[in-house]
Amino acid sequence: MALELFLEGDPIADTKAPTDVPIGERWSERKFRGKLVNPANRRKMTIIVVGTGLAGGAAAATLAEAGYKVKSFWFQDSPRRAHSIAAQGGINAAKNYRNDGDSVHRLFYDTVKGGDFRSREDNVHRLAEISTQIIDQCVAQGVPFAREYGGLLDNRSFGGAQVSRTFYARGQTGQQLLIGAYQAFERQVAAGNIETHSRTEMLDLVVVDGKARGIVVRDLVTGEVTTHVADVVVLGTGGYSNVYYLSTNAKGSNTTAIWRAHKRGAYFANPCYTQIHPTCIPVSGDYQSKLTLMSESLRNDGRVWVPKERGDSRPPQDIPEDERDYYLERKYPAFGNLVPRDIASRQAKNVCDEGRGVGPGGLGVYLDFAEAIERLGRKAVEAKYGNLFDMYARITGEDPYSAPMRIYPAVHYTMGGLWVDYDLQSTIPGLFVIGEANFSDHGANRLGASALMQGLSDGYFVLPNTITDYLSAGPFEKVPADHPAIVEAEEGVKAQVEKFLSINGTRTVASFHRELGRLVWDYCGMERTAEGLRKALDRIPEIRKEFWTNVKVAGDAHTFNQNLEHAARVADFIELAELMCIDALHREESCGGHFRAESQTPEGEALRNDEEFAYVAAWGWTPEGEPPVLHREALEYEYVHLAQRSYK
């Protein structure tokens, strides 16, 4: 299976989890064994936290409370606007408030299984343990979770879990959790413990003597490039779904921070693991800038179908029953429209590829409520889904009560990210990575309502405890401003900015981003084949070459220049895309969100190959032209037994 596409490197392993004690005791044991920093020393240490999402915001606030000097950076105007704000559904916690049999162990089990056995047991177990503390913490901060008439917290079930463990705040859970973290953060700003840098983008990592010691940033308003040094650097910069151009992520979400850290030596784990959400509003034209998620709950009552005939352009109402194909009900009679996310997504893609898709570009399937409206009455449907229907109507201009909705899958979340150990430390000492930016807890597929849990767990509870072990050796020697590592990094950033502005080609940054996104979507999206991935790998270097010779970036380097920001992000997406395709090509199995057409059961289910692929693929960067180096972290399952997922 040796591909010329990558080099085999040394295996790696997590050395921090105390595996000599039972899994339920490992987290407390790790906290106990880790060295501490006394309060007087904390004041002398500076921690850089990049990102103010659930992960970064919670971490900055907690570390500042502990007495460290925190410097916080983010690219939006306010820390409250981090992309976590957009999460809708809810957050899981093993509170068992419903007395329905939930427990830390069950949440642990569900998450490992949901991740299709590609995550690390120790991390997932810790996540499940901490989940309950998160809810306590958020309630104390004033997060207005939904409550029942008795005044106690309400729960819903989510993502097919058999227990009700999801805490929610209407459809705005992410917003409320983030505002809670943001308020805690602002409290520390007022106390003088956090130094803030809004509209500031991290463009490089400064590594001195093998340790992460600072970051090079560009002030997006003035264009000034500066370096900030610290004793330790934390990245909570979110996911990279925007490599696909169209995704449910915010427009600014990017890979730049982690990608540049990767180029400085941090391994990038499982880059090809992406989650595709089945119910999004489809693309309506070339100008489309992003995709909007529609709650999955719609599939409880809506029926998914496409015309039987390809190219049937009649309006849906004119297509008689017997000329419709309710393909999910046909193929999965037991689960029908409620099959899991990955299957629903892939099947929608299949029917559209057959030419039976509906709407502009033939990329859409119907989600029909006619039957539900007849069965339950319009009133009841309105009560259940009214706000979603309104949102749909606002965006599409169509009335979903009279004609079926059109939906299509969209990229939603990236399980891959920088490799971290149990302490959340990357392969560069002193560089910690939290939230969606790391790869840690979700394996090959993330269950609903668990990203928020992970972000807050990392930020509030894990990192502040594990970082002390590293910092106990600090404060580290001062890095002078003219240190060669700083000078080199700064020059590099400035040179890149100048390069962008000097090319003065004929294509916009956005046009490259769209082309790249389309390519990755087609070949490294819902269904991947060796042939397609090779095609993508042929094309990406061409795109990169053209980008660096023919892009046109407007404006200058010394004023607020959004086009320049975008250019730097797209440059990184192009490089990341290549690694994603290599990762997808080398993983000759299907697991979770990674579906290789060559590896499926006769029924079309994802077919894992545990013999060969039960490992984390951690990629090391090599200078351009050289293939990346693969370091494998073997995954062992002591507590949850490997089994094939089945939905029949």
Partner: protein
């Protein structure tokens, strides 16, 4: 459809701004307002001109980044965010005026982008509950009546967009501040700091060059999250109570 846009262009805070006119053809009515601007910007870039700067991120009405004065109404003709406004709300041949939020508290950064960090400083002055990580009791230790929880939630939906300031004839940030005071003041966890919170937040708001509220109600009418006027009444109630109780903002 065809449109004429009159857009505020201001290269930097120190430079004078002016309205510039652009003519757009072939605008699809399914475009969002921001996508319409994206299309214009790509053309501007290809023509070697400076694209129009505007803030945006989530494009689904929740982050509060996008805020434009469209034809004299904050976020345009629908009561929603600019990113959730679609071109079908306009007609062929329309002239659309686009301006930044205008307030002493929101200095222009460039074109349509303003600096809303004053909002962060208002929150920083007291818009929080002091609950250091790890100190929390069990979430069920204090039940919260559903009506209070729901009302607190209504107030907590504020996205910090600043449309209230933009629309208020006094340039007041009262609705924003009131939403936070109401959210935290309705919850049992928010009681210990209730007095000091409101006094300090208002003091900060006044210091940020926002106007005072005279209960005009424009803010609530354009607020994409429909934050109600009741929040302002609650803030006033709390503030007067706090002042009577002797709370005075510390310097």
């Amino acid at each position: 459809m065809q449109l004429t846009l009159r857009v505020w262009r201001q290269p930097s805070p120190q430079v004078k701004g002016k309205m510039a006119n652009y003519h757009l053809t072939d605008v699809s009515e399914d475009m969002s307002f921001l996508e319409m601007l994206d299309v214009l910007n790509e053309q501007l870039i290809l023509d070697g001109e400076d694209p129009i700067a505007f803030d945006h991120d989530c494009r689904e009405g929740i982050c509060g980044s996008c805020g434009l004065m469209i034809n004299g109404i904050a976020h345009g003709p629908e009561q929603t965010t600019t990113c959730q406004l679609h071109m079908r709300s306009f007609s062929d041949g329309d002239t659309i005026d686009i301006e930044p939020w205008r307030s002493g508290g929101f200095p222009v950064v460039k074109d349509l982008v303003v600096d809303r960090s004053a909002f962060d400083r208002i929150i920083s002055a007291g818009g929080f509950i002091s609950a250091p990580t790890g100190t929390a009791p069990d979430a069920h230790a204090t039940p919260v009546p559903k009506v209070d929880a729901d009302a607190a939630f209504d107030a907590a939906t504020c996205i910090g967009c600043g449309a209230c300031v933009a629309a208020c004839p006094n340039g007041s940030a009262m609705l924003f501040t009131a939403a936070k005071v109401t959210h935290l003041g309705l919850l049992p966890q928010g009681q210990p700091e209730r007095d000091s919170r409101v006094v300090r937040m208002i003091a900060q708001q006044d210091a940020e060059d926002f106007g005072g509220c005279t209960n005009i109600g424009e803010c609530s009418a354009v607020c994409p999250k429909g934050i109600s006027m009741e929040t302002i009444s609650r803030l006033n109630h709390d503030l007067l109570g706090a002042l009577r109780a002797g709370a005075v903002p510390a310097s």
